[in-house]
Structure formats: C-alpha cells, structure tokens
Amino acid sequence: MTTFVGRLRAAGVLGMNRRNAVYTLHWNPRRFYPRVDDKLETKRLLREAGIPTAPVLAVARLHSEVRRMLRELDSYSSFVIKPAHGAMGNGILVVFERDGDWFRRPGGRWIDRRALFYHSASIISGAYALGGQPDVAFAEERLEVHPELVAITTEGVPDVRVIVYRGVPVMSMTRLPTQRSRGRANLHQGAVGAGIELDTGRTNHAVLDGKPVPVHPDTQEGVVGRPIPEFARALEIAVRATDETQLGYVGADVVIDAHHGPLILELNARPGLAIQVANRMGLVPRLEAVDERVRPGMAWPDRIALGCEIARLAREGELA
C-alpha cells in the first residue's frame, strides 16, 4: 500500500483532503462562493464584464411564476431548465424538440407540460439545491454541439472543463456525453473524459469509467489526438471569468456552441479530481509550478502563456 501511495505521490496526484485543505479552503474565500454557486449571479457578473454565457430565456423565482415562465418558453422549440443553485448537473432538464404541449427529452422520452411544471416547482422548492434551501428555476437556450465535435458526442452537449489556479489555467479536459450518461457530461455517470493539452488544444488521452478508451463508445470515432475547436478562445473566457469571481481555485465549464462559439456554462468552486485521470497527469506539480512563477498583476494573456508553458513542461517531464 505504501508503494501505491508513493506512486500516486510521484505522479503528483491531488487527493480530496489536500484539495480541500490546501487549495479550495485557502484560495476560495467563503464570501465569494455565491458568485459561482448561483448560476444567475454568475451570468450577471460575466455579462457586465463582457464575457459570453449561455443566453437565459426565462426565470421563475416563485411558484407563482412557473406558469409565466413556461408561457414565455412557448416560442422556443428547445431549451434547458436548470436550478440556479444546482450541483453536479443535478436538476437539469433538457428539451430537444416539442410538439404542442409535449416535449422530447434526450433519449427520446416525451413528457407533458404538467411534468415540466412539476420539475420547475421542485427546483424552486429546493429539491436540487445544496442544503435544500429555496431556489430559482431558469430556462436557458439549448446549446448546440459544434460541428467538429458531433462525431464524438451522443445525446447531449460536450463541455470543456478548465482548472484555473490563481488566474493561471493548469489543466483541461473535455467531457463527451454518451447514451449511457443520458446526454449528461458527468464522468461518473458514463461520459467520456478526454484530457486536453493546454498548449496545443488537442486531446491526448481519454477515459471511460476510469479506464483508457481510444474511441467514443457510441460512435466508435477516435477521441484521442483531436483538436478542440476555438480552444484558445475557450481558455481566454475561462481565465477572464475566473478573474471576475476573485476565487483562486476554480473549475470553469465552457461549451463550444455551434452558433455563439465558446460560452461560459458555469463556474465551480469545488472542481472534481477526475480531470487528472482523464489527463493521466497529476495536478500537484502544475499547481506548485504556478505558486513558484505567477506574479501579482500579471495580465491574463501572460497567465495563459504561463499555464501553457507549465503544461508543456509537465508533459515533457521537466517539472520536478
């Protein structure tokens, strides 16, 4: 067992205890959490800074507003209903297409207006919020998969997760939904995670259920060595969005939309650790390299350049 621990340590794998004690607890002051835990607040913050986010179609803050929200959605054939305080993608309901009062969800299941109403009301009651406090339901435009990613996606929309530490991007991956994950981009629900090299913008390794996979399980298309479209822009908005939150350790989720280009989907103050498995690289050496090299007042382009440089060194085995 000690050799296992030794190997993990040698690979620089970041564990949950250390992430909490050293990184999130220290770099993410509790008072800034509402900026990322409330998705509507995040959107407001980013809109003011001119950073693109997924457009909001309608909002329901009270049970009495659900009916109006659904009415406002009548002019859209597809949309996504979300809780403002949801975590890990819980409580998200995607509508692909509609036929009058019937709505099709990913996987081909049809639901009626009443079910939509019930789901929105549950969100407002706090069924999906951390701690169960009253929440806000809102509807977002349904984003569309970028043409270059269609071949390695089924059901949902892939996203790009970027870990930004002290304003420097340190690691990235894309999460590709599968039939088994029912369109959701969560690795533990069966989505494919593919590590992205920050400097080249290409995927270099991919895992499904923690095991390496060369191809997408549904389409059988290769997922390693693919360029991510508009990745430089994705890195830019991830870093600038993180700057707005004043948090020091953030997971920024970016969607490369077919029409709008990269958009911030949400920001996460407690980003998971699976990104290391998808990259087959530990976070610790990169985080320590950032601590060593980042200077206060560095402009964001310099910080992105630094992050890319650190990632390249890490890949070539030149970080201690």
Binding site: V13, P212, L273
Partner: protein, 526 residues
Amino acid sequence: MNRAAAVTGSVLVALGLSIFAWKTLVLQLPVLPSNVENLWRVELEIEARGTGQRGSVRAALPSPDPEQEVFDERQTSDRLVFTIRTERGQRTGVWSGRFDGVHSISQGFRVQLSETPPALPTELSQRPPKEIAEAYTKSTSRFPSDAPEIRELVSSVAPPAPNDPLGQMRTLLGYVTDEILTVATGSDDALLTLSSGEGSPLGKSRLLVSLLRAAGFPARIAAGLRLRAEKDARETVWAEGWLGGRWLPLSPTLGFFGARPPDLLLLKFGSDTLIDETGLEAISSRYRVLRESLDAKEVASFMVPSNPLLAAVSLYRLPVGSQAALRILLILPLGALIISIFRNLVGLRTFGTFMPLLIALALRELPLSLGLSLVGSVITLGIVSRLFLDRLQLLLVPRLGVLLCVVVLAITAQSLFGRSYEVKDLFASVLFPVVILTMLIERFSITSAEEGLGAAVRRLGSSTLIAMCIYPAFRFEALDHLMFGFPELVISIMGLLVAIGGYTGYRLAELWRFRSFTRPSDEAGL
C-alpha cells in the same frame, strides 16, 4: 500535513491524556469497570405540592441487613427540614415544614445486594422476643388471623408441626402461591382473596401473613423494589415470618422462601406504604435505578477524590437521571471520530454527515440485527412510497411531510408488531430519529434518480457500515465507564479530530480511484 493542525491536535491529545494519566496514576482511579454484581444506585424523586400549610412527607429508607448493604445516602430537601426517624428498626426519612407551591425533593443511596442467600435457621425452637410477639401475632382487620375460614384452612392444610415449623411455613406458602390466582387488579383484602380464589400481590401477601399468624408465627408484610437496569424500579410487596431468631422472607407471587432474590431491595416492613404524606395537596414520586459498574470503594474514589478540584467536577455526584443521559452524550464524540476516520481517511460517502451516528444512537438498546432490520424495513417502505409519490408530482415540502407520515406509521406498526412478539419497549426509551430517516429516504431517491441506483445503494451501504461500527461504542460498558469517569478524554478526541482535519494525504478510496496512476506499466507514460 497541516503543521498548525498537527501541533494543535497533539497539544489537545496530550492535554486530555495527561489529565487522564494524573487521575489514573496519581489519584489511582480505576480505568476499567470491575463489573461488580448487584450494586445499584437508587434515587427516589418526589414532587410535593402544598397550599402553604404545614405538612410532611415520609419515605421508607432501607436498613442494612445480611442481604443488603446500604451506603452513600444523600438527600435534597428543597426548603424543608429533613430528619430520619427509626422506629422498631424501620428507618423513615421525614421532610417537614410549610409546603408552599411545588417542592422537588429526593433521596438517594447505593445498595449492594447479596448474591449468597443466608442459610435457613437451624435453632427452630427459639422463642420470639416479647416485642415481636406482641406486635406481629395479633389478629387485625388487615390480617384477620382469627377469622374462622383462616383457622379452618390452617388446620386442614398445614396442621401444627412442632418438629418441622419450616415445612409448615412452606406448605402455607405453597397453598397461597398455587391455589390463589395472582391478578393485578384483584382484591387487596385477605379474606376476599381467599374466598374468590384470586387476589392482587398485596392481597395474597396479606392472606399469607394472616395464615402464618393463625399458625402461631409472628408475621408481617414487607415492601421494597425490584431493581432492573435502565428502567424505573417496580414497587412490590411480600410477607415475612419470624422463625429461629430471624425474619424469613417469603413471597406467594415472586416465589421465594427464606432469602430474597438478588434483585430485590427491602425498604419497609410491617406496612406496604413506602411513601406517605400529611397536609399536602398532591404528591407524585418515582424510584430511578442505575446499575453501577464500580464497586463501592471505587465509586467513592470518583465521588470524593482526594483532590478537591476533582471532587467539584466529578460526574458521579450528579443525579441518576443526568448521569444516564451524560453517559450517552459522552459517547457521541467517539462516534464523530469514527465518522471522520471513515470519511476523510477511508473516503466513504454517506447520506448526511452525522446520520450514521444518529442511527447508531437510536438502535443502541436493540440487538444489532433486529435494529438494522427495523430501520431497513422503514427505509424500504419509505423508498417504495416515494416511488408512488413521484407520480403524484407533489411539491417538495408536502412530499417530505407525506414521507414523514409514512415513517411514523411504519414505526407505529413495528411497535405493535414488536409487542406481539414480546420485544417489549421496542421504541419506548428511544426517540427514534424520524426526521433523519425521512431525509435519508428523500436523499436516497434523489441520488438514485440523479446518479443511478448503484450510487445510492453504495452510499446507503457505507452509511450502514459506519453506523454498525459506531453501534458497539454505545453498547460497550468499559467504554461507557471510561468516557464517563474520564470526560477529559473528549479533549483528546478533539485533538484527534483536529489532526484528521489537517490530514492532506490520500484517502484509502483514492488509491482505487486513481489506480491508473499506480500501475507500474503506466509509469513509463508519465
């Protein structure tokens, strides 16, 4: 490892342990319970209400005899004057004064009941002393030994046997035990008991006393307590007959002769009233009982330690009720420690942080398998009802309310079921964590909808596993004694928690989660 946490943690652990060491090594307090048999702490609590008039409350006090050793008597008198009167060997505690409003008074003592019954007397021809013969042989309205049916019965069932008075006594005892039915609501009167063939324990005992007196033995009624762990004591009566120089206890309901059973405490003889009052508006009383795990000398060392500072903070000086609650309370930090170990060192996920602790707390008085199957059936029922509730599409809070009702009904049904299977007091002393179970069901359903049934079952499994690991802590008597006698150990537990809180290494589960990094073949790729 976080250095500040490590230092703070070590300081706290050392602080707790050094107080512990001082108490055990310097003051020589016992670390382990010595598991003495039949040592009890008994406390009588009385609430008396008066309207400003003078009055008194009298309570029977135990006297030492070959079968019981009484010590450590204490009482609270709440504005009244307490005195002890002794009349014909019977000790009575008297609180007297002006009763104005409610007075809470108490009287407590420790008693060591003998395990070895005294031998039956051999000098059977010994004459009873004059004062005993005078007081306990007459026919009275309660003990109508002169009544013709009593006399007739004695001469037909147990004719005088000068050579075998013990046998005669035994025959009379056997008659009342076997021929008269014990009915809790039966008559208290000796003659009515005899004529109807059934009586209350008091009625049967009075009948036996009357028969003994008719047969020429001095006899009297005796009253006391049956002591049971963690329950209120039950008051009970029996008879005593004088033979061969001493009083022999004999009971037509509990079935003993010559010696009291080892859980029976004698409080009063010659009368069946333990508590009596004058000049009061209302009175209520109850006896609380706690089994001691230390012998008398050890208890004394905790109660009156040689160090005055320690004497002031000894938990052994608290009333019995508070002691019982504190014994449970002081185990909780251990439970928190176990949870932290599982969550931060092992890396198991649970529903709710302290949920396993509360489940273990609720089940502490039941056998583990029974407790788990009870909780399991409540949860299963809840999850099934939750599936149906989902179809109704109810709002969150009413839906949780309905689940709460299901849980309450399930527990109610189980109490009935439990009673019919003689698992008495199934939930009696347990304020079952109804709310916790409701939230558990809701979280289970949401987790299984969001992350799959497998994830929900795994999390439920790890919650159960942790609850099972905490459960023995509540049952282990040595631990109970350790934490109660040495509450400073909580400081050490705090230290351990601080140290775990500062641990930044890998969790055991992460070795599996990041197993792709630990394969030697992969190292080349890194």
